[in-house]
């Protein structure tokens, strides 16, 4: 077996304990408060009805037994049924997951387009005022909670300028049309392109701008910082000096000779940012009423439906673990030094 494939296999096997620990932690935390039925319906049912519901759902059995059953369900991809509206959690995850995916993709595009060029620029003009300005921008983006940035963007572009919609993924009519579409992908941009109606496309995109900007700028600040630090180290290496003395142009020097090796640590850290991005997505969705997993999570939290919360949290944790695995593979493919 060649080196790379063994590395892939080892790295893949390492996901298993991670996912196991994450899922276990979610279980321990969520059972720490007692059974979810009492938490969700405590005020609405008589004690006798409550006890019956608890019994029929099996929450009065030994915790270890429940835990083993829970692990078995997770293995089969079954996260139970929500308590408040009795839907399979898996269905909730599939239905709203695409909306979150769409939001995360948009904001990653914003983050890359803003963060990477500005990071390279900051490294090139390091320690001068341009660098100082960009760094303050980056720190400011980090220091601003994404939901506050979202509210400010709404104030400016919706209330004062009146150019962009305040919330939602699209106008109600567009939503109905796109949801009814045969074989709807759930990703509105793709669906709107398939319908081919420019009004839908414009509607979908105009709704996406503000949420994508809020979440994307937060991430862009992190990318900027990261790119700057790594570009500063690669720009001062001997081989860059050597290339410069051979007459390689400054542009090519920056984008090819210095940027490519700087990319490896950047990609590794981007993997770690996926967790942050998902957390940010929850807050962004709540701010803009973007109907994805995050806003569903907030709704179920408010209703104290902890079975639904447990399912969504466990799924997101698994997604993060898998993404980190993929990112490690990409880093290995780019960096010739990472070989097992």
């Amino acid at each position: 077996m060649s080196g790379l494939w063994r590395y892939v296999l080892v790295r893949f096997l390492l996901i298993i304990p991670t996912v196991f620990i994450l899922v276990t932690m979610v279980f321990i935390f969520m059972r720490g408060i007692g059974d979810p039925i009492t938490a969700a319906l405590g005020g609405q049912l008589t004690p006798a009805q409550l006890a019956e519901r608890v019994h029929s759902a099996g929450y009065d059995r030994p915790v270890l037994e429940q835990y083993i059953e829970y692990l078995g369900q997770v293995l089969r991809g079954d996260f139970g049924r929500t308590l408040t509206d009795n839907r399979p959690v898996t269905e909730v995850l599939l239905h709203y997951g695409t909306a979150t995916l769409e939001l995360v993709c948009y904001s990653l595009i914003v983050a890359f387009l803003v963060g990477i060029p500005l990071g390279i620029l900051a490294a090139k003009v390091r320690d001068r005022w341009g660098d100082a300005t960009l760094r303050i921008f980056a720190v400011l983006m980090y220091a601003t909670p994404v939901f506050f940035l979202g509210l400010v963007l709404k104030l400016i572009f919706t209330v004062w300028l009146g150019v962009l919609p305040a919330s939602g993924r699209a106008n109600p009519r567009t939503v109905i049309a796109l949801d009814r579409l045969d074989g709807s992908s759930g990703i509105y941009l793709i669906d709107a392109l398939r319908v081919g109606n420019p009004a839908y496309l414009q509607d979908v995109l105009s709704h996406a701008i503000l949420p994508a900007a809020a979440l994307g700028l937060l991430t862009a600040g992190i990318f900027l910082r990261l790119v700057r630090t790594n570009m500063i180290s690669t720009l001062s290496t001997d081989y860059v000096d050597a290339a410069r003395s051979r007459g390689v142009g400054e542009y090519r020097l920056t984008t090819v000779h210095a940027f490519r090796p700087a990319l490896v640590p950047i990609i590794t850290v981007i993997g770690l940012q996926v967790a942050l991005l998902l957390g940010g997505a929850i807050l962004t969705e709540t701010t803009f009423e973007w109907n994805g997993l995050g806003s569903q999570l907030t709704l179920y939290l408010a209703k104290r439906d902890f079975v639904a919360v447990q399912g969504i949290v466990a799924l997101l944790a698994v997604i993060v673990a898998v993404t980190n695995f993929i990112v490690d593979l990409v880093a290995a493919a780019i960096d010739p030094r990472v070989r097992y």
């Binding site: 304990p17 909670p145 957390g279 949290v313």
Partner: protein, 335 residues
Amino acid sequence: MRGFLGLLRRLPIIRELRQAIGWQRGMLIAGLAMTGIVVVVALFAPLIAPYGFAQLSDADGNFGSQVPPNSKHLLGTTVGGFDVLSRVLWGAQTAILVIIVAVLLSIILGVLLGLVSGYVGGWMDRILVVIADAIFAFPTLLLAIVAAIMISGGQSGLWSGLMAAGISITVIFIPQYFRVIRAEVVRIKGEPFVESARVIGASPIRVMAVHVLRNSTRTLPVIFTLNAAEAVLTLAALGFLGFGIEPTAAAEWGYDLNRSRADVTTGIWWTSVFPGLAIVITVLGLTLIGESINDLADPRLRARRRARATTSSAAAADGAAPEVPPASATKTGVT
């Protein structure tokens, strides 16, 4: 006397202030100033704030809901009829308290675990590393949410809410301290001076506390300030999602922002902008301090004095991180 001055110069922050030049010094000073303001406001909130954080009326009757900024309410009132300025000022107290609870708890537990795990090693060390890595991969906000659910079952009063927020943030931070300290401990325990201490018969606890711990804490100030910033953000996020502290128990900026969501669409800006700015100032101040310390500890990132500055002072300032090769520091890449 000379020894005392020398000690003073080596203290964190003071040492960095002496090292920093140019705009890096400006960043550090700006960070210290902002953090200082927040701390002062937190300490003197009862004196500065015009009203209590849960006060709805005074001698003239009710404050009224969503009143625009005026001479009586400098920053207006919220939808619930609270005075915005008072809640913004009192909120500093909540933020500082949560930072203290969260960061103290996680430093104590994280450093202890990292020290013992790194020094003793073996299967316990392996298991702890795997668990820490798993938690590290967990989206921090989600972890804080489930921890908050477990600790308080949702909303709660001042102390239970503070502890819930503090502990849920602690769960996120422990792995960070654990990893950093453990890595340092593993590096240091092979050093000759540790071996010498063991040879002359020092007990393991003494070796750990005196010889290893003292030499493995140099990265702590950076993580401490950055974590304090993250603690404020996490507290605000929990509050924004409705998992914070009841408005009558304490003023919390995230909760106020949550309540102002609907205001924004109708053009009422004062209920969201001011608590938001309070969060930004607090986090910005702490982050600027942390970033500056981090840059100054790394010779590759430290802004360099121009060629005319005496080389002796630059050489003296390099003492912070001696093991990094000075190759880049000798280049004149400033201009």
